[in-house]
Symmetry: C2
Subunit: 347 residues, 2 copies
């Protein structure tokens, strides 16, 4: 089925677009009243594991906010689950993995085969969403990056410093690399299966890569991101989002990825310079700025697009949308991107 | 009284040193068994407000870990307290300010005069510590940066995104600037009083500046850091530590500060390049790396000093020491700095 709106894919392929596509990380979620209604009826993993619910949630921002792409409603921790770990999710409290990875034995016990079947609910949700979208906008699949997943698998929960995860890497680097490679292998299978099931492109979230020094990023994060980008780019364009790791942008711009996510700790101009204008960039609106008055949002969106330019660019936030953002502010963000471009095309 | 070890002050003045000085942010604190004993007997603000206790805690790492400077045991939130706000501190849970700043009226009510008297317990702790140090090493005073204090005063507690604080700034920028200026004025008085009471140098901690985009840092953080550096540098050398704000290093290196704190999100070489080798740099060991085996710590310390060079450099962590660091690892860090230099002097 051909897409009516393929701006996102064009931007990722470096093709000329009449305006930049726009979507928002975590756009399917907790700032939307219709999502909150579903959250009151179904617990987190029921929402993730029921294809009809995941599909409904995925479509909400497409219908209600007007974004140029859908991103499947799911969670990065489905991979540790598929590898055999228990993951609990307490609403508003973040994840808890009661039995963490500490030893060779723990790693040996992790399952690595048959990911596609173990996560068939994700594949069903993608297929159903693809059908329901009916070509309106592209569908994005995703996974957590190996380093970020290691953080949760070793630390067992969120953390300000992930020092247990880092201690594991610094004291047992060989074990860490064995674990990272296992996660990488499983993630490649998983992302390829997502593309087969209907994802037009995939994003890899390295939410905690910014906790690493440049040298440690190069050791524990970058090689695995590169492996994933190389293997999955055979099937679909890959977006890498190494949050906080601005220092890695020059090297990642030379990877097989088609796009790089940028957070708001650098200006669009810095990001373009660091990547030598050679790759599609996505970002980088400060999510807190969606709490500003709408005229301020519009002004800041214009500045952001001025900085990135309209080509090889995907307008987005620099991290997930906050739960307390009013829906009309999210809409204003999306509309500002669309308006900017129209205004500029007319001129 | 002349100092027996004035390496820190020499490094800050850009004078030649036989080896770089070393200290650790949060060195007086929760990884030291003797501190934990005091914590079991006295609550947080009793420890802060009793000059004898604050002095004892301040001296512990000088005696037990061998650092080249003492930093007064206190808290950045004594300024909001002195300005009339209530601050509660629950052990291990972080601060809570039950009544936050929201309106012009809230800001009008803040006290701004007579800080030296209102915080006379800090002055007494400094004077007592100065006496007890008896010239062994320099004494560092400190304050929180205006932006970081605004975060707590508006948000009321720690936060992953400080989005309430940012919303306040983005929706009421004039109010935000009025508040930031008040905090700045009080901080200048406070830091000057600390120098008068015995501090040989002062550090300004902008712990949350990295939450700001480069443009917002320039608006809400930088001008106030520069004002403080300019006013206080008349009395003593000033170290600015804008955690996470690597993008601001080029401009801050042209401020009146004598030193800039560097976190581990950039390499020593990047930091030197961004500051054009024109200012003393302090940092930037990943605090989690103190959990690595001691030989690994020694190796990484050598790499760090290789990167910064031995001159115009103060060895330190890139943020506060973690509570779970074994004391002998902290000692290994300090000793590695001392050894590196000896080794290099001999060669």
């Amino acid at each position: 089925m051909s897409l009516k709106n393929d701006l996102l894919l064009k931007a990722l392929r470096g093709e000329e677009v009449e305006r930049p596509p726009v979507w928002m990380m975590r756009q399917a979620g907790r700032y939307l009243p219709d999502y909150i209604k579903l959250r009151e009826k179904y617990d987190f993993f029921t929402r993730v594991e029921t294809p009809e619910l995941a599909c409904e949630i995925t479509l909400q921002p497409v219908d209600q906010v007007g974004v140029d792409a859908a991103i499947i409603f799911s969670d990065i921790l489905v991979i540790p689950q598929a590898m055999g770990m228990k993951v609990l999710m307490e609403e508003g409290k973040g994840p808890l993995l009661p039995k963490t990875i500490q030893s060779t034995n723990d790693i040996d016990e992790l399952l690595t085969d048959d990911v596609e079947n173990r996560l068939d609910y994700v594949m069903k949700a993608l297929a159903l969403t693809k059908k329901e979208l009916n070509g309106r906008v592209p569908l994005i699949g995703f996974a957590g990056a190996p380093w970020t997943l290691l953080c949760y698998m070793v630390e067992g929960k969120g953390s300000k410093s992930f020092d247990k995860a880092k201690q594991f890497c610094f004291t047992q680097p060989e074990l860490a690399h064995t674990l990272l490679q296992k996660i990488t292998d499983v993630s490649i299978q998983y992302l390829k299966a997502q593309v087969k099931a209907g994802a037009d492109t995939v994003q890899v979230f390295d939410s905690w890569s910014g906790m690493l020094s440049p040298a440690d990023f190069k050791t524990f994060a970058q090689p695995y991101l590169e492996q994933i980008a190389e293997a999955v780019s055979e099937d679909a364009p890959v977006i890498l989002f190494p949050k906080g790791s601005w220092y890695a942008l020059p090297e990642l711009s030379k990877s097989s990825a088609s796009g790089l996510g940028i957070d708001w700790s650098l200006t669009p101009e810095m990001a373009r310079k660091m990547t030598d204008n050679s790759i599609t960039l996505q970002g980088n609106f400060d999510p807190s700025k969606l709490l500003a008055p709408i005229p301020e949002i519009k002004k800041e969106v214009r500045k952001m697009i001025d900085g990135f330019g309209t080509q090889r660019y995907i307008a987005n936030l620099g991290h997930g949308i906050l739960p307390n953002v009013p829906v009309d502010h999210a809409k204003a963000f999306v509309e500002s991107v669309k308006e900017y471009s129209t205004a500029n095309t007319i001129v």
